[in-house]
Amino acid sequence: MTSDVKIPDPLDLEREEEARLRTVAGLPPARGPVGDYAGFESVGLPDRPPQTERERQVYTLEEGEMLVNMGPQHPSTHGVMRLVLKVRGEVVIDIDPVLGYLHRGIEKLCENATYTTVMTYVDPMDYLSSMHNEHAPAIAFEKLYGVQAPKRAEYIRALVVELNRVFSHGLMMGFLSLDMGGLTPILYGFINRDEVVDMLSAISGQRMLFNFFRVGGVNFDANDEFFSRLGTWRSGVLKTIDMNERILTDNEIFRGRTIGMGVLSGKDAISLGVSGPNLRASGVAFDVRKAHPYSIYPELEFEVITQSGGDVYSRYIQRIAELKQSIHLIDQIVDRMPHGPVQAQVPGIIRPKPGRAYAAVESPRGLYSVYAISDGGPNPYRFRMRDPSFISLQAIPKLMPGHLIADTMAVMASFDPVMGGVDK
């Protein structure tokens, strides 16, 4: 049965109504798909013409392709981030990461804060490695101001950053399996992490955002409670890691979903700026603790560990190896820790001479660096932070084409990004 009555499209009615309301309110007409995107009705296209060649490439769809948003609220994006997946069936063809949901302008805030209060702003950046976030500014400001932290303070610094690395890597094992559907390892990871944050809370007074480092030292000396908790934790930590390893490392499903998945070659990793365990898992022996030794690392005995695979499994194995290495480093640091003051005499508000300083540390996610410029005033003229997970994210659009949607999560998790750091 045919009919001459044209049934109006509800969407058209909505547009007409909006246009009418806009005319009444004196607003300009609404923007719709124009230019290169005209004619497409797919949900998810930007409501404006493409700004760049790359954007046009991602958002122009061919027959059989569609766009899927993963995020911004998605458990496997490790924070608030949106991945626009261009898919053909289950296969990912292209990825456009959309960032900025957590952007707080920390660099700008730090440029309006005094050198001491900068430490409170950098903490929530990469919230799984707050101690590292504070370490690099502390070194940079000490270079600017020309002061050296006492020996015991340097040992305490190295101790807390290694503890921080241990719980960060431990959690990564959990998150990786969680993103692939395994719930147990994250619980073991959190047992380990809670013991460590209780320990760090005993020394710094805070569980997550420590505000512990100072220009020329640390805020508090290590106390009895800290060492007591450290001893308890140390006696059981290898067992917790072993439990996790027994669940994951030889697990057939886990191996099947990680080996050969998301392979990143060493050459590509260097070109993309990937750093830390992700770079070393691709066979490049670049560790800031060895390459540009800072703090007391020249006095400690350790080797740079590398893997050859460059896949998700290698990045996982690399983290476990580094976790055990960190525990070994913690043993050395505790054995050799000297007595003495933990803070050089530095006033609360410092005005370093005009100058520039660059300081890089090896955070659990890679090369975290600070470039600080002083103009002689009480706050940094320019405070620049290079966050490793921000740069490592670029590897994901590079690696994913050809993989399945479900594997996106495994590859994302293997890079262990933290959106607090990505978005600054």
């Binding site: 930007p46 404006r48 700004q51 760049t52 060649e53 790359r54 954007e55 960032l99 900025g100 952007h103 302008g105 660099e107 700008k108 805030l109 309006n112 270079k143 020309g146 002061v147 050296q148 020996k151 590509d268 260097i270 070109s271 993309l272 700026g273 990937v274 670049f286 390459a291 540009h292 020249p298 050089a344 005499q345 530095v346 520039r356 300083a357 660059y358 890089a360 090369l367 660096s369 470039y371 410029i373 320019r382 620049r384 290079r386 921000f390 740069i391 994210l393 670029q394 590079k398 978005d423 600054k424």
Partner: protein, 213 residues
Amino acid sequence: MADLRRSWRAAAGLGRRRALSAPAKAGALVRLLLDRFPELAADLWTDEDTVEVQIDGARNVELLTVLRDEPALNFFYLADAAAVDYGPTERFEVVYHLYSDRHPAWLRVRARVSRADPHIPTITGLWEGAMFHEREMYDMMGIFFDGNRDLRRIYMSPDYRSFPQRRDFLLPDDAADSPAAGVRPLERPETWDLSRLSEEVAPGVIAHAESES
């Protein structure tokens, strides 16, 4: 006060291993750079663990290519690329930090960019990873990287108009002094209070707002 500070500095020198060893080792790098680029002699500067060189923005690709590809230099890893704003009457700088396994010093390349015409060639051809660095610099400072094929905003929304990390962009706390950039609702120029702007504080903003509204 001043005397105390000097004495801490003197004490600080004692415990510093880098201060004693690095400049001698960095000397090899300085010699190599001078051999290769004699015209940069006046723009070289060294720190305890950094060698710094200043160049014109237009030369960045040429210089960085040599630094990356020459075996004796071998600065294969781009550690950081950051933009610095030296104020409305001065210039921008794009600052590259490079790592080499041959030299025990960081290499810092400071490329000058005109503030009136902030354009500089992209280095995404040398390091793919420079893409996010350049997108961030464009987003925050408004520096344009010629040849970059994905120069979009990365943190702020695509219709955002200001460049929040410039020195003349003030935080909302200081809104009374701000040239109205970035603190107005929805970033629409027609909502800007042009009477508070002047050409010295925010060059080009008035013309831009008038053309948009």
